[in-house]
Amino acid sequence: MSQTIVVGFDASDSGNRALDFAIGEAKARGARLLVAHVLEWSPYTFLTPEEIEERHRRRTEELSRAETAIIAPVLERVRAGGVEAASELKYGNIGETLCAIAKDHGASQIVIGRTGHSELAARLFGSVAGTLAQASPVPVTIVP
């Protein structure tokens, strides 16, 4: 059975560098790539009544936008590089959700891009890399 590498992808520059790195890694190991895009979501934020009413419609829109604008072109790019690819689109805390995806798919490693937040911002809001460093079930590569 071939290995699976999870790459946490967002449309940023570092996300693209992480993807390139992961494609190279997958080629070298003959692994398959799982492109994971997580939409930041907390079930504990506060919404107005109108926002609650529109939430389901918004969610549907967000999912289809992410699917067409982010996931589809990336899958094409990975496959063009001759690597087998699949995708996961989820809502949740980015770090925790990446861990859950890696566990569910029995992945061998996770690749993410460095976000480049200042130390203060990372302290206040937590960083994806920090969460993964503490909670990841598999080795993590952070691409600068």
Binding site: L47, P49, H56
Partner: protein, 515 residues
């Protein structure tokens, strides 16, 4: 020299204007108050008329009987389902694949931000000011029983909502009245729905708007000094307008984020004051229990305490009123009953916890004046209310109670009151709007008309006196309860069916935890 003359003239003009302004303003406030009191008086006296030969308002009896019937019919559901409700809010039963939809926690938080507010701060003070400490006992009891009413209405609100193709929903009592009655083959559903919608619009303009504006003004002028109410009204109206008409979500979003922290700060401060006077806790509860059954010489005696307790509780947690059913109907869930379970926590948090804390702080800090010899509370000259330190009423009484422990707290409370008032107005503008669109149909221009009317009433509410505003607010909200509870009686077998089916599946393991 020329220069100096000009300066003097300008100063004189300024002084003249300054002296003319309060006089004119005062008369605007008085006119508003006069017109308002005379045009709503008949409605208020009908809602609060007593059973013949007694001083017991029929509406209070109506609410008590309803809450008791729901409590018995659903077998003390508020206690049986309490742990499961907590588990739902914690997300134990939420499918991770549904992440991104509104969570039970969010539904609860939004519904609470509509009810936690002035009712908990000012309403309790009104209850204790008139009914004495004993009113607190009846308030807690009303809160506990109200949990069953809330459970019933919110389950129905979700079950019979309208779902539109674009994914949005409209729900609430007017929808379960029409669809639920049709399903059971009972006539008059449409009639009740229209009646409810009319009262809901009045309630939104009254308790959800004018009372809020009124008490926010009282609190601000309590801190900065007296000034005409219409000024506060105009400022509030402008901000509300910006949010509900202008769609400036950022203001609403900031409020929705600050309000929970204000709530926690309020409860925290109350807790600290209660703990600082820990030796008085026993005495305070003694006053509450004793007062509940004897009246302890408060206005209207024991019946007065009971009436005030139930009135303010209903006004604060809105159980049986139908407003929460509108709020919860917007939440997407596979099982309507889960929203019922979540909603039964609202009267508990709102009334049993927060209102009780306010009452304890007022009682413990000695705001009510009692006769040193007889230990009975003294009444005002008119005999209508208890004597308080400095004659404070409503939100000023709560403010005085908290400030006696922490001097700076009146400023925190002023900000809290403004934010609570604002978030309650935003919630009620939504409830009112749903009733409005039910009556007149959905559509941009129709919605704008309601929203503008809503803003005008902000100004009226801030200008009028507390008495007529509070009476009208109560009357409109109770009128909603009259219609809503009739519908709940008719539809409660449907809720029971949902409940039994859900509990059976929970027991069999078909509905399971995800964590």
């Amino acid at each position: 020299m020329m220069f100096a003359t000009h300066k003097t003239a300008a100063l004189t003009a300024l002084a003249l204007a300054a002296s003319a302004l309060p006089a004119a303003a005062q008369s605007i406030d008085e006119r508003v108050n006069e017109i308002f009191a005379s045009s709503t008086g008949w409605f208020v006296s009908f809602i609060f008329s007593s059973f013949p030969g007694t001083s017991f308002p029929w509406i209070v009896g109506w609410l008590v009987v309803a809450a008791t019937i729901f409590t018995v019919y659903f077998g003390l559901i508020q206690f049986r389902a309490f742990p499961h409700s907590i588990a739902l809010v914690r997300g134990d039963y939420s499918d991770p694949n549904d992440a991104g939809e509104v969570s039970h926690f969010q539904a609860l938080a939004t519904a609470l931000s509509g009810t936690v507010g002035l009712g908990n701060i000012a309403g309790v003070a009104v209850a204790v000011g008139i009914g004495g400490p004993g009113a607190t006992f009846w308030m807690i009891l009303a809160g506990l029983m109200g949990m069953a009413s809330k459970f019933t209405e919110c389950t129905l609100g979700v079950k019979y909502r309208n779902e539109y193709e674009d994914g949005t929903v409209s729900g609430g009592p007017m929808y379960y009245m029409t669809k639920g009655f049709e399903e059971r083959g009972i006539p008059a559903g449409k009639f009740l729905a229209i009646l409810f919608s009319v009262f809901c619009i009045l309630g939104a303009l009254g308790g959800g708007n004018m009372f809020q504006a009124n008490q926010a003004h009282a609190q601000i002028s309590n801190v900065v000094g007296d000034y005409p109410g219409w000024i506060t009204g105009l400022i509030f109206a402008a901000v509300v307008f910006a949010v509900i008409v202008g769609g400036i979500k950022s203001i609403a979003r900031v409020t929705e984020k600050v309000v929970p922290f204000m709530g926690l700060l309020y409860v925290g401060a109350a807790l600290v004051i209660i703990l600082m006077n820990a030796d008085m806790i026993g005495w305070a509860f003694g006053q509450i229990f004793e007062g509940a059954f004897t009246g302890l010489g408060v206005a209207g005696g024991f019946v007065g305490a009971l009436i005030q307790g139930f009135r303010r509780a209903a006004f604060s947690n809105e159980a049986g009123v139908g407003s929460a059913a509108i709020a919860h109907a917007a939440v997407r869930t596979k099982e309507p009953i889960t929203e019922g379970f979540v909603s039964l926590l609202e009267p508990f948090i709102d009334t049993v916890v927060i209102c009780t804390m306010t009452a304890l702080v007022i009682i413990m800090t000695g705001q009510l004046i009692s006769d040193p010899a007889t230990r009975l509370f003294l009444l005002d000259e008119g005999g209508a209310t208890n004597q308080t330190v400095d004659g404070n009423k409503g939100v000023a009484l709560t403010s005085a109670a908290f400030s006696s422990a922490f001097g700076w707290f009146q400023y925190v409370l002023a900000i809290a009151v403004i934010l609570f008032a604002f978030s309650t107005m935003i919630s009620w503008s939504y409830y009112g709007l749903k009733a409005w669109t039910f009556l007149f149909g959905e559509g941009q221009s129709k919605e704008i008309v309601f929203k503008v009317i809503f803003c005008i009433f902000v100004v009226i509410g801030a200008s009028a006196n507390l008495g007529p505003v509070i009476d009208f607010s109560d009357a409109a909200i109770f009128a909603m309860a009259v219609v809503n509870i009739i519908a709940l009686y008719v539809l409660m077998p449907i809720v029971k069916r949902e409940l039994n089916s859900y509990l059976a599946r929970l027991k069999s393991g078909e509905i399971r935890k995800f964590v």
